[in-house]
């Protein structure tokens, strides 16, 4: 399969990239790793006139803890997250999400930034970012702004980025002490999009849950935050009964449709199961942390 003709540009700086974006608007597409965009172009389902490759733009490969946040540049590869010693302990859920994106080879080029900006409800990171309450840093020639992940994710393939805006950074607040996170995905086979997946982050004070974040993958037009489940958990002891009720509420929050991955009701059941399992795992890690 052959992509249709287009003009390839690899700007040397962010301002240069942003002015190209402003100049060409919806005729242009930003490319990070290209692992979602290029297949769409090969099927001629996407045919941008300009492909703006960010690979030469300096400063987009940051992966560091800075002013109370973990800061991840738009061009940081999934493989880098997967293998980063910095993340293994305190950002386990994020690492686990990267570990199940597509397959190991795709992860060598796929990026967290691209995964979020593509806004595919089946992608793994949007849900985990909901659980981690991440912020998106968007840049345009007018300047930068911070967008909460909840506001960033608008609909299937739609984000709140303006046509002239680029996602440049993801900021994840430092998890407080006694916080644990997890991402659990059920897929038909390696490389598949999730039948459903759940990301969870839990902060404990003693046995009590003080903060919790949850996100659901591929059970709606976009990644879903099961708000009622989160609210139910806060201030409660994370015993089995509580976890099961939270799982039930998460299942209620899902908006699955029936497709090749199974009937809607099945997916709802999987959401319940994975929510419970993710919460147990996150809580276990929180106690250690």
């Amino acid at each position: 399969m052959i992509p249709p003709p287009f003009t390839y540009v690899a700007p040397q700086s962010l301002p240069e990239a942003l002015s190209l974006l402003q100049q060409h608007g919806s005729d242009a597409k930003l490319m990070a790793g290209g692992q979602s965009l290029i297949p769409l172009m090969k099927f001629r389902l996407a045919s941008p006139k300009y492909v703006i490759d960010l690979r030469k733009v300096p400063g987009l490969d940051t992966l560091e803890e800075r002013d109370g946040h973990l800061v991840i540049g738009a061009m940081v590869r999934e493989a880098a997250i997967e293998h980063s010693p910095l993340l293994q302990q305190r950002y386990t859920g994020l690492v686990e999400a990267s570990e199940v994106v597509a397959d190991p080879i795709v992860r060598n080029f796929a990026t967290l930034g691209g995964n979020l900006a593509h806004a595919d409800p089946a992608n793994d990171h949007p849900a985990m970012m909901l659980a981690l309450r991440a912020q998106i840093v968007a840049a345009s020639l007018k300047g930068q702004r911070h967008i909460s992940i909840d506001d960033f994710l608008v609909d299937t393939f739609e984000t709140s980025l303006a046509p002239d805006e680029a996602l440049v950074e993801i900021r994840i607040p430092h998890p407080p002490q006694h916080t644990g996170s997890a991402y659990i995905k059920l897929e038909r086979k390696v490389g598949d999009y999730a039948i459903a997946a759940v990301g969870a982050q839990v902060t404990l004070h003693g046995q009590t849950c003080t903060h919790v974040g949850l996100g659901l993958t591929n059970v709606g037009p976009k990644a879903i935050r099961p708000t009622e489940a989160e609210q139910f958990l806060v201030g409660k002891q994370l015993d089995e009964q509580t976890i099961r009720e939270a799982a039930r509420l998460a299942g209620e929050a899902a908006e699955p449709t029936s497709d090749l991955r199974g009937p809607a009701e099945y997916k709802r059941g999987v959401v319940r199961t994975l929510t419970a399992r993710a919460l147990r795992l996150a809580a276990e890690r929180a106690q250690k942390g």
Binding site: G34, V106, N108
Partner: protein
């Protein structure tokens, strides 16, 4: 519009002016005439087109040639060095790690990259590493053995090359 793409291909400089949209796999197969890299699907699923870009496995059907300008590319043709097979090649030969041979170049390159990070991987580690490459013939059992064979060979002092006729 065209791009000037300059790479190090199996250790030697290689450059060409190519269409912006040219896929890396076609750059390698059609422009550089190295046909050991194959095409098996349209969806980045099968890994038959796997090459090493700056040492890491990449699916060359899902990269533009322009994207790897300036990079070091290694294909299956670059595994054998001055007439001496790479241990990964010996491993696939010794352990019957291939049948039709179509997925083999990708499998070997992934195996090589794994062994450089992890010289003596467990079966589970090998299975994880090759999970982006489909093989329809072998059932993977002997591919795992082949990569582990190469690992032992590479960590062994002064490896004896096996004779591959």
């Amino acid at each position: 519009m065209t791009q000037h793409v300059q790479v190090t291909l199996n250790g030697k400089p290689f450059q060409a002016d190519v269409e912006d949209r040219l896929l890396l796999v076609h750059f390698i197969r059609e422009v550089a005439n190295l046909t050991g890299t194959h095409i098996g699907c349209d969806t980045t699923s099968c890994g038959a087109c796997t090459v090493l870009v700056n040492g890491v496995p990449a699916k060359s059907c899902t990269l533009l040639a322009a994207q790897v300008d300036g990079a070091e590319i290694q294909t299956v043709e670059g595994l054998e060095q001055d007439g001496k097979l790479h241990p990964i090649q010996e491993g696939f030969y010794e352990e019957h790690g291939l049948q039709c041979g179509f997925c083999t170049p990708g499998m070997m390159l992934v195996g090589k990259a794994l062994l450089e990070q992890n010289p003596n991987p467990t079966e589970a580690e090998v299975r994880h590493a090759i999970s982006g490459n489909l093989c329809r013939c072998t059932g993977y059992v002997n591919i795992v053995k082949a990569i582990q064979y190469a690992g032992k060979k590479m960590s062994a002092p002064a490896p004896e090359p096996v004779e591959v006729k």
